[in-house]
Amino acid sequence: MDSLSFNINGGYLEGIVRGFKSGILKRTDYLNLVQCETLDDLKLHLQSTDYGNFLANEPSPLSVSVIDDKLREKLVSEFEYLRNHSVEPLSTFLDYIRYSYMIDNIVLLITGTLHQRHISELIPKCHPLGSFEQMEAIHVASTPAELYNAVLVDTPLAPYFIDCISEHDLDEMNIEIIRNTLYKAYLEDFHSFCKNIGGTTAEAMCEILAFEADRRAFIITINSFGTELSKDDRAKLYPRCGKLFPDGLSQLARADEYEQVRQVAENYGGYRTLFEGAGTNPGDKTLEDKFFEHEVKLNVNAFMQQFHFGVFYAYIKLKEQECRNIVWISECVAQRHRAKIDSYIPIF
């Protein structure tokens, strides 16, 4: 009976998140933005939306990376507000959202360290939502195994390392494989956490996470064609919490080319439509775009129900998508290459 007691701890924050959600840019806002000729125009239009004067203190000329940073800062401040006001189990839930950014940051730092870049260059590139205390210490370690023993064992991500990577593997494995293995462990953990919470949260979140798992399985498969990743290794990277488990995943593991992947998707109603329209011709949307669209649709659906945690996750993801959209439009405006300016993904 979620609705009975949810509001004790979550009612205020849910009201705030829904308030934030009403500030997400609508189609009319995007139509205004694509009409801009320069980045200063863009800034002017953004002032009339929920973003307000977030670019006010930046010296002109603006650059796209500055816009990107500021957008991200706004998202981070909203997230911090929510996180600081939350109690269990919402605070654990919000922490889980953070872990995915932490994984990206760790992989970034490991790559940077292995290529002998100095730590102070790498830290600004990290996503602020994924920062954790031991970030500075990463450059001390020179091999991944040392890294694990010294630094990562204290972070909340330690269990993901233990589950799937032994010390020996860390040295040998390619960084992308480390990233995917970590992400798989994280996704399965998040999925079982949501299931434990039960109720409407489980319903809403498990739907979204299952799609995320399946999407990663498809992308890993397609990207691994033509690389030296063996089929067994590939199968180990698939997260098991999606709809494709177990049949679809075993079929994907055996696939050798795009057509076979498509065949696998044919068996699952929701995914067949995603593959149908996609292609590499100039007029089509790419498969990635279709996946993003579907994700946006699922996230918007999370707002249809009240009294669950899915709204927080959905809001963060939609805001991220909005950041991507604005950055895409700004790039097109800045480079004066307006051909594909309409390829953003409208949210509401």
Binding site: S3, L4, N7, I8, G11, Y12, L13, E14, G15, I16, V17, R18, G19, F20, S22, G23, Q306
Partner: protein
Amino acid sequence: MAIALSVCGAAWGIFTTGTSILGGGVKVPRIKTKNLISIILCEAVAIYGIIIAIVLGNLLEDFDFYNASWEVTAANYYGGYSMFGAGLTVGFSNLFCGIAVGIVGSGAALADAQNPTLFVKILIAEIFASAVGLFGVIVAIILVTKVKMGKSASI
């Protein structure tokens, strides 16, 4: 029981609605005053409880158990059970009514924040929820009108 449970229901409803109004009001301050109607509907639930409690209290009367005739005893027993039933009826129906009004009220606050035209429509649903509590009070009043207690009671 009547007043205890009704007040529980009203309180439950008020906190459910109240937190949503607080949260929604941060971004959209205009919803504050209109949504107080939901809170008032919840409060009405508590008032029903207190009305019944006062009515029941006034019906209590002394009677002499050992010297009374069979009819008087029977009438008093009937009165006692009747009052207990009425109290429970009102108590539970107000408890659930309060919870229901609270949940609908919280939905109304959040919907109003997104789209002002929705408020009146959801208010209609809330009024039906409130009617549930009213039914409980009506049934309780019917039950207690037949109660006669005291020395001169008779069925």
